[in-house]
Symmetry: C2
Subunit: 986 residues, 2 copies
């Protein structure tokens, strides 16, 4: 039943058919693409062929017996053609729908040099700070931008979208309030949301709150709130408003703030661009989307959301946070700060489950601000405001409708019209979309940076105004000034970075300079266990350069998005087939969101079965930190399950805990192959135990790359599973996002998948509320995974899995002669990743995993995953995309490092100052000053292996001082160049 | 009359009109885009405003009084929209026209990481070898590819197109034969061209030969040649054939070769891809286009042509040649070899005028071969051959036509059809183009890599064949084997580079590794005098990513290329306006080709006036080497004109020579502003002198960037002028090409502009024959210059000129305190460039220009133009695109170097080993081994200025040993890695 060796998939195609295209993709994707190489690797492991190897690696009980039903692979050119066909089926109207999504102009150099540049998009999250200073600086710029415009001191390095950012803000309020509440307090916890927030935001917040046992009241914050805040049976933990609101109105929230006082935080969703003109609202937490900073709408995402807070909330800040610290030689250096807040440390007590965010988009938005500078941004905002005023004036002159509200607006008008259907029809005929408000006969129009005078004239005509925009503008004599109370005063964005790179040449060099500090897949392999850093092929990325995919508003009528619809349904089908499930939802925009979504679906299902009380979630101690955090977000009680010494689930512990909680057991979360890198033989049995005790099985599919075509979550017995498309399915990591975390489910769960309040996802009325702002989350990057599957076909995908397993086992085999491999199966095999146990070196040489990780930088390599899932170890996942030569180079480096450790063990190098402890070595360290007190040469520090003389990547700073940075938290750029000021603590 | 200060062009746009777009381009293009910066610069020079500055810099007699009539500037987004409109007017048919242009698949990673990557396309020609090892390696791969497939030992680093390569081959034959001929020999020199070469090739060769006084005989080389070679009145210098020929026939030229013997060289135009299957023809010189190695047709170009020769011709090889040499520490290093052949040394005695070639395209084609490897290339060729056989078989079965010839073909069929018009009409209805042979009722079909089974079926149907391609293929049971005489035997491309990078990951890393060695505009300014290394903006490059521009065959019916037609006519019009001429031809694909074309037009005009005997060309000694070389190619006698000590034309020498030669004076070639970087005040007078004596004035417009909007060749008095669009008009240099060298002419010359034998350029019957293979030369890159002009508008262009002049004068002013500026005008002003006179340091410190150039690399900078136009000097041209900060950084570096020289002068550093003499310093030099015998620290070597610690670019090899490389010429990659073999001389 095992699939054949498929060497034809990877070697250059044979000419069984003279017409067969030769630009086949699988052999380009797979690193050891010549069968001679895979044969060498099999031989090293003592196998004659793939069948034997696979049977020894994957337990027979788990191996699938079916063939994947996926359409025949397309060649790269066929794929491009098919993508063009789909693009043609998307109709790019002028969309004035607003609601958090507008047109925006991405400066061409940013598109080309960041979005379309593999040296940026293949970067990993900047945990290895010394080889990530470029993107860290980009993200610090982002944080500075957000801080400056919101007027709040702390901003994180991005969140997923505006709606989830609002939910995160709500959760911050709850977790701030809870410790202050008495245990005995029986008050209901209430979060108030103004009804004039975007509907999708309200929906997402409601659902998240509901799961936390928090009641959301939706109403008019200015008028309704008195009652709530004073209700004795309720505890108001926060109030969310929108500024300008979803109808476009700019409202003064100072009275509200005064009413709330210091105890109850005010939160506001806002518009960064509007804040260049408007005074920020008096909120403690401000959030929103930065999409209008040069990021395409992309039918819903990805875009970077922001969240900023005042100092008092900083330790509850969700997501990653870049901070300024220093390196060992005291030089300024950036790194991720306050890591201890995150889930891998705090698990179910973490503030949030957010892990992958939107780093690439945050970098782009920040670069947009760097290019335009404070003056340029303000001009863009003023132009939009001016055009909106002209439009409002003109609509009033016309006979079709009345502009609603106070007359104070930035970019959005709400208009009562006489005959909405007629208007919308006429508009659509002209390729124009308006927002169709839920209020009868009301439409919304939001203008943006891309709008032209001709566009405004078209709108005026639609509204029966017979004056031209220019006439109206002339008569108005410039936009009305904002009332003083709303006018932003004082200068923002005076930092040099926002005032230096205004010419394309300077911007280009700045982007390339940042890039030059960062190690990415363009340099060498990044074998991060659990992260699947595989090839992100250019052909897969093409849709991101096509306006038909990029310029679609997420809420357009469905007939304008037929190309997306087709692509989405094909991708859902293929992923269902691959995972062995009946349905897939592509809405979650990260793996962690997928976990949360999956657990929500389980809860909804249980509820429908009258099992709503079930609230226990069993989670193995080896689970990724997002698992318990997501469970907690869903209001589940986490009960840990042990693992045995081989890294397998402790089946008797599982059985007894399942039994013990059988009346309240809701779910079991399990990663397969396990986070320890083994295919557990008894996983099916585990699933049966859970089912027997009334629970549902949630599989964390982060490790799906080890399964495709060989086994599947559905067949193993899972009920739901998320996938990280940004791991297994080739969406690049982008330096920490974007990602997509779809969930697959069995048929019984399908009715409970996520719906959406504006555009139905087709699930139906039993569907749970959305977990993301847009119906298909980050739709814009789905073509990447779709393309991958289309070009690989069933054989290609299956072969890729085999090579991923083979590469891991090959490396493990080579390294086992020098290091201890922590977990293997009974045949000594690992899955697609494995853990190097380096804990013994602490005693023998004073060396820890971090020292090896940093020394690897001197060898031009990114470290494996460090200290996860086991402290002080290194987890290696090579993926199928690396060539045998590259696998060997990495092994050679680790073996050479082992020898360097041996020198310490033999006392040939001092324990406190040696090649590892002093690593990484920077150019400056090696070149500047004297070379004394060093027991090794400069040459050995820099070029420990001969090929480094030809191909050397340099860390741009020395080892980071993390503790220092956390103690002295700075999360924005200096107002003036550091050297000049000299006041910062570095 | 002077245009206003235009500060609004560069500062962020003001809101005089609220609808005005804000994505304006001029301020992004211009480096000192804030008026505060230009004011600072003016002030440093002692001016209050631009008017004063310009009047002092440009002689009043030369200043123009008119305003440029160019359409209002488009914003970047408006430009993109307009470009899309034009794209829609190009109709991309399936073109089977062949004739040297076919479809080809550019692998997506090569498009993205080379063609669309500024770190590749903004590179300069690799004269500074130490910071150019990446592209040098790419070009060495190209040479190896060509050498291997042609079986000839020497290949150059690319030529402009197949037709001009053939002409260069012809010229090599002539210049080889001439020295062997007796002076008294009155034999006619004859070059024979087989009639079955591509018609455009024949045409270009004929014209070039004619100018050299060589007679071309066109006929059947196999049958007609006996007579010619034996004619006593003629001296046959070479024979050109095509293999496979223009009709697709593969012919055995061994008998011809035998007939010719060793004395008369056989040349063949050939197809590299076919040579993976076919034995190379027995020629001493092989040439052709590499367009089918993954380069888009682009309506004619740019594509890299190749030319390879046997060893005996190597010193006559035109174009650049990469050779393997070593650096000062004995390590293998690449550099341009045999430079002494080139025009800047040999002037009118040079073998060829070729300067800018097609480096970027050669790099792409070589990378295509690197990716596919020998096996992949052969498969592609076999698939094409197989499909062509199926098609031939099917056409024979059909009733519409008969395949002509012997049945031996690779990719091209010639078919006699019953009713050609009907067939062509039906084909066109289906979006299909055939070649319309000049022979009645004959069509040609050429298949290529992009052809699919469905395409072949469509063709079969058109020819009335009612079998499907698959049936025919099955019946044929695989392509017929080639007759043994034609079969290629033996392995080619066994070098590691063609057998290592077959996965996309490996290819990606290889491309990025090469890139990392090369300094480009993404790093720092490249102020090469006479080269105008300005911003190559992303928006300007967009057409190169659009299939509607890239996938058009140059010989399609004109109604399929309306977008191009419109763009070309707009560009011609704008360039005419800018240069003050009446017409422009865009055909020449380099500046040197422009010179040659312009002189040809002059000769044709003179001829028509009965002045065909005029053959003297006056050229100032300061002229660029291509000027005399081009004049010589046109059969003109070069008479040098002196310059005075201020760098101005010696007017009395000019007058006396013009007078002396008044009966034979054909032309005067003059560069303006002069190559010495001054606006000569008496240039109009010079033009009058020439005209008075019956000559025409040819202006070399390489320095047009100093003129636009302020003065113009036409107004100054020139009759013809070429422009380098790859300088002034933003086509990137691409590491040594592509380029476009259009010529502008006064009305009296317009009828003599270049025509084309296949697609009329509209000039008419008086037009001279083409100077390039395609009617509009490198049409595919014309959108770049078109976009630049459209986005800048008249004001933007004029302001750019002012800033270019200002930047040069600003730098000259700062540097004048430390260096001698060689030439200035009477007010002490320079033009857009200036010469640093460093000749005095030879005596004072043993330092030459080259030492400063190399030391600049340590400062992260590319050297200025070295030793041209004056030996042992440096010529600096900053352009308008550099920010004031960057200009200052460059000045700071030069000033610091001056101080390093002063230390030598003061004997604080030894003359033979100091910071300059040992430069550039590589990482390895500084890190490896002992640091003794050095009078300075490692730190000072690497970080002479503080900002280098943040932003350092490293040369990847030490200073090159040029003489060594020329003595030991190696121009291909090693068959195995150098280290392993150890036989090569490094
Ligand atoms: C096992 C596992 N589960 C879940 C996640 C969370 O995925 P995301 O980062 O997309 O939220 C990860 C991410 O590293 C993971 O490794
Ligand atoms: C003054 C001058 N004329 C002519 C040329 C030749 O132009 P091209 O290299 O495009 O052939 C150059 C090129 O550097 C030049 O500087
Ligand atoms: O790849 C770089 O351009 O650094």
């Amino acid at each position: 039943y095992l699939h054949s060796t498929q060497s034809t998939v990877t070697d250059a195609p044979t000419k069984k058919n003279i017409f067969a295209p030769l630009d086949t993709f699988a052999r380009r994707h797979i690193g050891p693409h010549e069968s001679s190489n895979s044969e060498k690797m099999l031989k090293k492991l003592g196998f004659e062929n793939f069948d034997e190897f696979i049977k020894t690696t994957i337990p027979p009980s788990v191996l699938s017996s079916r063939d994947l039903k996926i359409s025949e692979p397309l060649s790269e050119r066929e794929l491009h053609k098919r993508l063009d066909e789909l693009a043609d089926k998307n109709k790019v109207n002028r969309s004035y729908i607003g609601m958090g999504y507008t047109g925006s102009i991405t400066p061409a150099p940013i598109t080309r040099n960041i979005l379309e540049n593999p040296a940026w998009y293949t970067q990993y999250t900047p945990y290895q700070a010394e080889i990530s200073q470029g993107r860290l600086e980009g993200l610090l710029n982002w944080q500075t931008l957000v801080s400056e415009l919101t007027g709040l001191s702390i901003s994180n390095a991005s969140l997923l979208d505006e709606a989830t950012a609002a939910a995160e803000g709500m959760a911050m309020c709850v977790s701030t309030a809870l410790p202050k509440m008495k245990k005995s307090d029986s008050k209901k916890i209430v979060f108030f949301v103004d009804a004039n927030c975007h509907p999708q935001t309200i929906n997402v917040v409601q659902a998240r709150a509901h799961d936390l046992g928090v009641q959301v009241r939706v109403g008019n914050a200015l008028s309704d709130l008195k009652d709530h805040s004073q209700s004795s049976s309720e505890h108001l933990v926060g109030v969310l408003v929108q500024y300008p609101d979803t109808n476009g109105q700019i409202i003064d929230y100072t009275p509200l703030k005064e009413k709330l006082g210091d105890k109850t935080p005010l939160l506001a969703a806002t518009n960064l661009l509007a804040l260049t003109l408007l005074k920020p609202p008096p909120a403690s937490i401000l959030l929103g989307s930065s999409q209008n900073f040069g990021i395409p709408m992309a039918y819903g995402g990805p875009h970077a959301a922001f969240l900023a807070c005042s100092d008092e909330y900083k330790r509850r800040m969700p997501g990653r946070l870049v901070g300024v610290s220093k390196d060992t030689s005291g030089r300024r250096a950036l790194r991720l700060a306050l890591q201890t807040r995150e889930q891998h440390i705090r698990r179910e007590k973490a503030t949030s489950n957010i892990c992958t965010a939107q780093a690439l988009l945050a970098n782009m938005a920040a670069m947009y601000a760097v290019y335009h500078g404070p003056v340029g941004l303000k001009q863009i905002a003023e132009r939009i405001r001016g055009m909106t005023q002209v439009l409002a004036e003109g609509i009033q002159k016309g006979d079709a409708g009345d502009v609603q509200g106070s007359g104070l607006f930035f970019d959005t008008l709400t208009i009562r019209v006489k005959d909405r259907e007629a208007l919308l029809k006429k508009a659509e005929e002209q390729g124009i979309n308006f927002r169709k408000h839920s209020t009868e006969n009301t439409v919304g129009i939001t203008l943006d940076e891309t709008v032209t005078e001709a566009d405004v004239n078209d709108l005026l005509r639609l509204f029966g105004c017979n004056q031209m925009a220019s006439e109206i503008a002339q008569a108005m004599n410039g936009p009305k000034p904002l009332p003083e109370a709303f006018q932003r005063s004082g200068k923002v964005l005076q930092q040099p970075v926002f005032n230096t790179y205004g010419s394309e040449t300077e911007l280009l060099r700045y982007m390339h300079h940042l890039q030059s500090k960062d190690l990415s897949l363009t340099h060498s392999m990044i074998p991060l266990g659990s992260c699947t850093m595989k090839l992100n092929a250019t052909s897969e990325m093409l849709a991101l350069s096509k306006p038909e995919f990029m310029n679609l508003h997420p809420f357009v009528p469905k007939d304008q998005a037929q190309g997306y619809a087709e692509l989405i349904s094909e991708l859902e089908k293929d992923l269902s087939e691959i995972t062995g499930f009946d349905a897939v939802s592509l809405q979650p925009n990260s793996g962690a969101q997928g976990e949360y979504a999956g657990l929500r679906v389980i809860r909804a299902y249980l509820d429908a079965q009258g099992q709503g009380h079930r609230d226990v979630c069993l989670i193995p101690v080896s689970a990724h930190g997002t698992n318990p955090a997501s469970a907690a977000m869903c209001g589940l009680r986490v009960v840990p399950v042990k693992c045995d010494k081989d890294g397998n689930l402790d089946m008797s512990d599982l059985a007894s805990k399942a039994e013990k909680h059988k009346d309240s057991l809701a779910a079991f979360m399990v990663t397969y192959p396990s986070t320890f890198g083994v295919f557990e033989p008894r996983v099916k049995e585990a699933c049966e135990i859970i089912h027997k005790n009334g629970g549902q099985v949630y599989m964390d599919g982060a490790n799906m790359n080890a399964q495709i075509g060989l086994c599947s979550p559905g067949e193993i017995g899972a009920d739901v599973c998320h996938l990280n498309l940004h791991k297994t399915f080739c969406i690049p990591h982008g330096g920490g996002g974007p990602g997509v975390g779809p969930i697959g489910v069995k048929a019984h769960l399908q009715p409970y998948l996520m719906e959406h309040p504006i555009v139905s996802t087709g699930v139906g009325e039993k569907g749970v509320p959305p977990v993301a702002a847009a119906p298909w989350g980050s739709a814009g990057i789905l073509p990447i995974s779709w393309s991958y599957i289309k070009m690989m076909g069933a054989n290609g995908l299956t072969h890729a899995t085999k090579i991923a397993l083979l590469s891991a086992n090959y490396m493990a085999k080579r390294l086992a002669e020098h290091y201890k491999i922590l977990y293997t199966n009974e045949h000594g095999m690992v899955a697609h990743e494995f853990i190097l146990d380096v804990r013994g070196f602490k005693a023998s040489a004073g060396i820890e995993a971090v020292d090896i990780a940093k020394r690897l930088q001197d060898y031009g390599f990114h470290a494996p995953t460090m200290s996860w899932p086991v402290a002080n170890t290194l987890m290696i996942e090579p993926t199928e995309s690396e060539s045998l030569a590259e696998l060997d180079r990495y092994c050679d480096a680790l073996i050479a490092i082992r020898e360097e450790i041996a020198e310490i063990e033999r006392d040939e190098q001092p324990r406190d100052s040696n090649l590892l402890k002093n690593s990484p070595h920077t150019q400056r360290d090696l070149l500047v000053g004297e070379w004394k007190d060093r027991s090794y040469s400069r040459e050995r520090a820099a070029y420990p292996l001969p090929w480094l003389q030809e191909k050397k990547f340099w860390p741009s700073v020395g080892r980071l001082d993390d503790a220092y940075g956390d103690l002295n938290l700075f999360c924005t750029c200096d107002p003036v160049a550091a050297e000049e000021e000299g006041e910062r603590p570095y």
